[in-house]
């Protein structure tokens, strides 16, 4: 008799752990399979920690707002861990006319769906955050955005889900899904172990594409590597989440005092790796140059670590969520395209609700897996 569970979640990142948490909390018998040796080893522990709404695609904005309204404020108590959630606003900075136009576009788009985000000028920016250089001329400002610690939050979901009885197995890489009499039933792993479940949630980031293919579903996404770095602890300076119009860097100062910044070298999508998320020697210096243009007095701050991570970047930059009618029992929760941290509580709670009740508070139809059409 194979190992069975009511729900099998494939992928032990923040999405998989959070879904396991929401289901186990309702007494569901959950089994979560993580392919690597560590919980939260993909993007979940490599991102810049933003919990932001501004700058998001309107199709996924409601999910993030739902999460910020219903879960983020008390997540530390729920997960019995310090998520270090700050809701002190997000500044997306600009220096040139080109930047201003980009920011205005994003601001208008978000305001249309009811998000309070405004354009502010350089002086206003430096009133909010005096450490910013004089070259900053404008910014989009969203006061209800913020940031949190992705490491403790992800492991907090895992810890508490486990406490509610969810079973986690690491080092168990899923290679195949199998239907039985027309309904998805079996999950086959590289180790040869086979598990059975009523509902199978696919939350394995980019790996979800190969797994979904074994039941004839193609999830159009590609693997793009981003890099990030962290400084030594600094005296407290500011609590806003930061980004730039050109997205050359983003990040925040953590409770520990160190600054975490993510960024890009412009070669994203073409960088080479050796099968592991290994850094490229050009990126970190480039991120440093980007940061110093905006924060001159961080130039003496010492970098203590740099790292890299893959994004599961979907064809249109928003995730694929929800049921798959062609494969009854399959639920998708992947393709978060590099901004799956802030949206995780909102998205995971809705996926759990969908599995439990068949309905969701937030409409997910815009994020269906079969939305990809040809251009004409």
């Amino acid at each position: 008799m194979a190992d069975t569970a009511e729900v099998i979640v494939i992928g032990g990142g923040i999405i998989g752990s959070a879904i396991s948490y929401f289901l186990a909390k309702e007494g569901v018998k959950v089994l979560c399979l993580e392919g690597s040796d560590y919980i939260g080893n993909g993007g979940s522990s490599r991102n810049g920690g933003g919990v932001r709404q501004s700058g998001r695609d309107p199709r996924e904005l409601p999910l993030v707002m739902y999460g910020i309204k219903n879960y983020w404020p008390h997540l530390s108590e729920d997960l019995e861990v310090d998520c270090e959630y700050h809701q002190d606003g997000n500044l997306r900075l600009g220096k040139t006319e080109k930047h201003r136009k980009i920011l205005e576009g994003l601001t208008d788009r978000a305001r249309k769906v009811g998000l309070d985000v405004t354009m502010i000028d350089g002086d206003e920016v430096r009133r909010i955050n005096p450490y910013l250089s004089d070259e900053v001329t404008c910014a989009s400002w969203c006061p209800t955005d913020g940031h949190a610690n992705p490491l403790t939050t992800t492991l907090g979901f895992y810890k508490t889900a486990r406490k509610y009885g969810a079973r986690f197995i690491t080092g168990e890489r899923v290679v195949e899904l199998k239907k039985e009499k027309g309904k998805l039933r079996k999950v086959v792993c590289a180790s040869g172990d086979v598990y059975e479940g009523e509902t199978i949630v696919l939350a394995a980031g980019y790996d979800s594409r190969a797994i979904a293919a074994t039941v004839g579903i193609d999830l159009p996404m590609e693997k793009i590597m981003l890099e990030a770095l962290v400084t030594e602890a600094q005296p407290p300076m500011f609590n806003q989440m930061l980004g730039t119009a050109e997205a050359d860097f983003y990040g925040h100062q953590t409770k520990h005092g160190s600054f975490v910044f993510g960024g890009s070298s412009g070669l994203e999508g073409f960088t080479k790796d050796n099968g592991t998320p290994i850094c490229c020697s050009l990126t970190a210096p480039c991120i440093c140059r980007g940061i110093m243009k905006y924060f001159p007095n961080l130039s003496d701050a010492k970098i203590v670590r740099t790292w890299a991570g893959w994004m599961d970047f979907s064809a249109d930059g928003v995730p694929m969520l929800g049921m798959v009618p062609e494969v009854p029992g399959l639920v998708l929760a992947c393709g978060f395209s590099g901004h799956g941290f802030g949206i995780a509580p909102g998205a995971a709670s809705q996926i759990a609700q969908l599995i439990l009740t068949g309905k969701t508070d937030v409409d997910l139809t815009a994020l269906r897996y079969d939305r990809f059409k040809a251009k004409i």
Binding site: D37, L155, R162, R167, I169, A190, C279, C288, S299, D300
Partner: protein, 112 residues
């Protein structure tokens, strides 16, 4: 190296010990008790403990406490140390100021 690791295996409850408040990670001031408790909360690898408690995330990047933390986790799980993978090694090997990391020397081309 993927080892199937069922995290619901019973490793017993956390039992406080007299030396629990001894500092193990000197940079981030993480104690032995905190590390042992984290193992019982499900953090069964060096990397998970590192992300959960910040052991090895300080200025020295685990050069001093790396082996000690691995030893404590292994003894709490009742497995040999060699079965635990140490944390990933990452650039930079030593802390480096942002302005230095940003300043790439102009190399004379070729073998100059």
């Amino acid at each position: 190296m993927n080892q199937v690791n069922d995290r619901s295996r019973d490793i017993g409850e956390f039992v406080p010990r007299p030396d629990d408040d001894m500092v193990i990670c000197r940079c981030e001031e993480v104690t032995k008790g905190e590390i042992r408790k984290a193992v019982h909360e499900g953090m069964w690898t060096v990397t998970e403990v590192r992300r959960y408690l910040r052991t090895g995330m300080g200025l020295c990047q685990g050069q001093t406490c790396g082996k000690l933390v691995k030893g404590i986790i292994a003894s709490e799980l009742g497995i040999p140390q060699s079965e635990l993978e140490p944390a990933t090694s990452r650039v930079p090997m030593r802390p480096i100021e942002m302005k230095v990391f940003a300043k790439e020397a102009k190399e004379a081309d070729g073998n100059g």
